[in-house]
Symmetry: C2
Subunit: 213 residues, 2 copies
Amino acid sequence: MIGGHDARFAETESIVTPRQEIVRQDLQVRREQRAAIKRQAPRVIWLTGLSGSGKSTIANALESRLHALGYHTYILDGDNIRHGLNRDLSFSDADRVENIRRVAEVAKLMADAGLIVIVSFISPFQADRDMARTLMENGEFIEVYVDTPLQECMRRDPKGLYRRALMGEIKQFTGISSAYEAPTKPDVHLKTTTGAPSDMAAEILQYIDVARS
Amino acid sequence: MIGGHDARFAETESIVTPRQEIVRQDLQVRREQRAAIKRQAPRVIWLTGLSGSGKSTIANALESRLHALGYHTYILDGDNIRHGLNRDLSFSDADRVENIRRVAEVAKLMADAGLIVIVSFISPFQADRDMARTLMENGEFIEVYVDTPLQECMRRDPKGLYRRALMGEIKQFTGISSAYEAPTKPDVHLKTTTGAPSDMAAEILQYIDVARS
């Protein structure tokens, strides 16, 4: 250790002057600057709902609208998370909690980077969604309930998963053999049987008030 | 399932017309579009080196320069990963591998989102750094060796960690009781004792050729 300097600066002492060390701290790029360069406020738009409820379709419609308006977005969903970051996790309750914990942490990093993040995960437990909200800045987290009745999801069954779950081929399937806790106070409540995905995206846009620009 | 349609479209069939379904696929925001809106090519600039080698200082200097040039960046380092996403991991060899695997997956997502990502981790094993490279697009991954001799890192010892490691208070400390595999063919080799952090940042900028704009 060198003299009485703050330990945080000590690492640089042998290669820059003390004056530069202090300046370096000021130069660090902060959250606000990253958001400013993108001319947008970071958001984490969290879509929760049953399998087959239409989360991915709505997420894509929303991202397309936001992109057309010039916003910088990213979708976190099962495709890019379950096959990559979270490929070591199963569908047990414990691993579902860990799955959502990691997604929430990545969403936090991306919001910190200045992005508008759209999370599209079943995320069946209210406690996990509440945990995700507490990770973010005030007002940044938007819980969107993609409310499609279970009967309708089973009727659509786009991937044949409900059929397999009912036959016992898939264990721990949300809505069949694993719980889904509907949001009690979602920020946006989408009743998907009342309109097209573009209408649902418009409802979210209206809530986050970015469509004005 | 509905008729002979592609399963990927089936989920939307009850709420949009078939024509819209196909259009929806075209509307999806792709990697190239996200990068275009940011007017930059995504990069993963991976700084590897011993504890105390100056990775964080150089990462901050590099980010400041890139930010001043109008680029959208983000730093992934121990502070925002080990205390969040990876707070469940220890410093055992197995957990170090998992630590780097997750960081690499997050860097991949951020590059996919169009960002220039600066990763600042000791990342002691070549196999892990090679794994990270394979996750990214061709030419996107830049391995930067922050080459500060162990003796110099021990002399600086900004956080007093080497002292504690030598006293046996910290187990599995890289360079003392855990291996560090220096990059054999780094894309950029920074000899930190030859210049200030800003010089090191300039060397990286020159390599990635973004300083021209």
